[in-house]
């Protein structure tokens, strides 16, 4: 899709008749409308979760049994709760905001640590090859063959359902896609002429990995990171839904979904609130990831 075939401007000995404009500063904000909305939504969501006590209109665990299953006032319900209340009369908006704390923590922390671990292992495997590569990549193969839910069940059974346990399980699980990709991409970079040129210049070891390998494989890894963030949020919700996540009464999106099962026909808003929250966050993370990887590509900077 490159619009310009070659950049004009006489080559060298002649004074430039037509000077190529110097590269413009990178834009801080995405140009694309969808990416702006997604980024905005994520920032608002994360801030709301961080400052939940100040933002949330009610205490998320305060039960007002007289006001059970109040319809959302947003859609014309009465009871003064913007998004309605659940079966115990708890404010759903407040619970969704507090639930974001768990989801965002699990998503971002697990994906980031998994990404760091997986990238380092993948790059090391691709650069040093040999026995190191064999050990790392065979581990990847073995982990791929394990059914995750069963492992998670076992770990939770032994260590108990805690946020920290959940994150550790996810990190130990989610580094695999990063390693696969980082390994393959490193092999690509190692066979390029610019890598050879760097070796010829005298770059070695960590220097060449940090300067030439990592920056050139980062784009696709960022995209995977966003997938993993989204997937971790979904996994946390699924585990909570199955009762394996963070135990009640702590608000989590998955737990809210799980509790709503009995009221699907009478109180549609109970599953809707956490469901929409999960969907929008996952979607936004993916859109922002696309934008980040595009922004990372030097060819985009004209």
């Amino acid at each position: 899709m490159s619009t310009v075939l070659t950049v004009p401007g006489p080559g060298g000995t002649e004074p430039d008749a037509e000077v190529v404009p110097a590269p413009r500063r990178r834009r801080l904000l995405p140009r694309h409308f969808g990416a702006r909305i997604a980024l905005g939504f994520l920032i608002v969501g994360v801030l709301a979760a961080i400052f939940a006590p100040a933002v949330a209109p009610f205490d998320p665990n305060e039960q007002v049994l007289l006001n059970r299953l109040a319809a959302p006032s947003l859609f014309g319900g009465e009871g003064g709760h913007l998004l309605g209340t659940d079966e115990l009369g708890r404010d759903l908006l407040s619970r969704a905001i507090y639930g974001g704390r768990v989801s965002f923590t699990v998503g971002f922390v697990a994906a980031t640590f998994a990404g760091l671990l997986g990238t380092v292992l993948g790059v090391v495997a691709g650069y040093y090859r040999g026995i190191v590569e064999s050990v790392i990549m065979r581990t990847v193969d073995i982990l791929t063959a394990f059914p995750f839910l069963i492992v998670a069940l076992a770990v939770v059974a032994v260590f108990g359902a805690k946020l920290s346990v959940l994150i550790i399980v996810l990190v130990l699980w989610e580094w695999v896609p990063f390693t696969r990709l980082a390994h393959a991409k490193t092999l690509n970079v190692v066979s390029t002429d610019y890598f050879r040129a760097a070796v010829a210049i005298g770059r070695r070891g960590v220097g060449i990995l940090a300067r030439h390998v990592l920056p050139n494989i980062a784009g696709p890894l960022i995209v995977v990171w966003t997938f993993v963030v989204a997937r971790s949020i979904v996994i946390e919700s699924s585990l909570s839904f199955l009762g394996l996540g963070v135990p009640p009464p702590t608000a989590t999106w998955g737990g809210m979904l799980s509790a709503s099962r009995g009221y699907l026909d009478t109180a549609w808003w109970i599953p809707l609130v956490p469901g929409v929250a999960i969907t929008l966050v996952v979607l936004s993370v993916n859109v922002v990831g696309d934008w980040l990887s595009e922004r990372w590509d030097p060819h985009g900077r004209r």
């Binding site: 006489p10 080559g11 060298g12 190529v20 590269p23 610019y194 210049i201 005298g202 770059r203």
Partner: protein, 635 residues
Amino acid sequence: MAGADAVPLLEVEGLDVTFDTLGGPVHAVRGADWSVRQGETLVVLGESGSGKSVSLHAVAGLLPANGHTAGRVRFQGRDVLGLRGAQLRRFCAENYGMVFQDPMSSLDPSFTVGDQIAEILRVHRGASAKDAWQRAMDLLSVVRIDDPARRAKQYPHELSGGMRQRVMIAMAIALDPPLFLADEPTTALDTSVRGAVLETMIELRDRLSMGVVLITHDIGVAAAVADRVAVMYAGRVVEYGTAEQVLHQPGHPYTAALLGSLPRLRRLRSTLTAIPGAPPNAARLPAGCSFHPRCRFATDRCAEELPVLQLSGAGQVAACHWTERLSADGDLGYWRAGGDPLVDARPGDAEQPFVAVENLVKEYPLGSGRKGRVLRAVDDVSFTIPKGTTLGLVGESGSGKSTTAMIMSGLLAPTSGRVVIGGVDIARLSGKAMRDVRRDLQVVFQDPYSSMDPRMTIGQIVDEPLLVHKRGSKAQRRGRVTELLDLVGLDGDYAGRFPHQLSGGQAQRVAIARALALEPALMVLDEPVAALDLSIQAQILNLLRDLQARLGLTYLFIGHDLAAVAYISDRVAVMSSGKIVELDRVDAIYQRPAAAYTRQLLDAVLDPETDLGRYRDRPTTRKEASCVPSAPVTP
């Protein structure tokens, strides 16, 4: 050759091609005119971005969806540009035979070549499987493939590049098209098979009385086959006429400049007259004549007024305001100048060698490697290079020349043998000691873009070797970067740009500047001009010669084009199948080649001055009645 009164088979008049892109419309072809008659070969000659391939694609209905055409293209009086969809496809299949640059990607790897030829006949002629197969084998023998019965059952990967291109030609002529369109048909082939493929094409043209349009960037190829030549620059035909007229008495300064940029064996010691600058971007053409910023004869008028190509009969025409004056004064003949006989006064073997390579071997295991089968990529290679001189290493693809280059630049360990550079055997070094040697040993690769980290600016790229070896403070290094860019003829402003913002020639200059940063004693140049346009190639070759004279560098110059290698080298080593078959001074190699393979390579070099009409005029010596294609198979 066709008579002058023959009716044009294909007429292109005022062809315009515009592409819609995100950055606005790009006008790739601007009013091209040319025509081809039955039994005639028209060569469209131009550098990359000149619009030569795009105009062919427009004629063949192969433009992508964002391409729009204007003007007229008539085939036997019938309008071509108005055809759409199925109509266009049928028209092209019936009337055009087409061959492209890369025969490997044009053939389906999972079918035998015989099947692929037969399929055309079954689809378009409704031939039975048996008839189609028989005719496929006929066609393979027509394009001079030996043992067609066996070859037809082989898959594309089992054939050599030259044979694959012959298969493509067989497919192109399967339906007896009146017009044969070839887009850079020999560019991906080794020079030694290039001649034979061109010869086959011309032979078929005569036998089937086709018209041929051949697109090429190679002046030698143009000279060897063309009846008429159209030279394109920046989307326009700038000169048009017979091969003799255009290539021996050019009327346009661009054509003359191209001829002056071509390294030629007969004029090795004269400096190439490189064209300054780079071809313009189709999206931003200069006002007036597109060539004037690079033209040595340009005047104010050239910058203001666009010269128009006036087609007048069969004569030679050039789109230049000053053609008549320049031709009358003989100003355009400068490219012929300086053809001194080769007398080499440069240092020979006697001097103490700076580089000594002894019995170098590099083996790669084949298959699983357990059976001990190996490929000897480099097979017992020995040579020396005296300080301050250039050894040219010439060979075809698979000859082991690039493997040798990698070993010489310390990027690949040899299986055995010694590589002594400045008294140190680098084949045995590792770690710290290797790092010290690397300073003296730099390498320039073929593709300048892929040899630079796309995420770094030009300044960072040139600075990197200084940074790694801790040469001075930040300010000192910045000064040195400017100095280095200046040394290769680039303005210091380029430091802030990214590689993809440079033209090919500029990018290769940056790669050379980076290699020079540590003041190396030896530069390994691995096909440094092969990816560049001819006019840029001459700039880089001259730059390398100039740098050598100023800095006393020693070069190992790898290449496949004997003329370019000979231009820059003091001595030349000819490599084939991993072995050096001949090593001698340039003049000796050229005047008294000892090895048969060297003679073959020398013979394959096409010089527009001496090889004009070489394949075009060759009388058909071989007459094989059986080769005359049988009548089209009818259902």
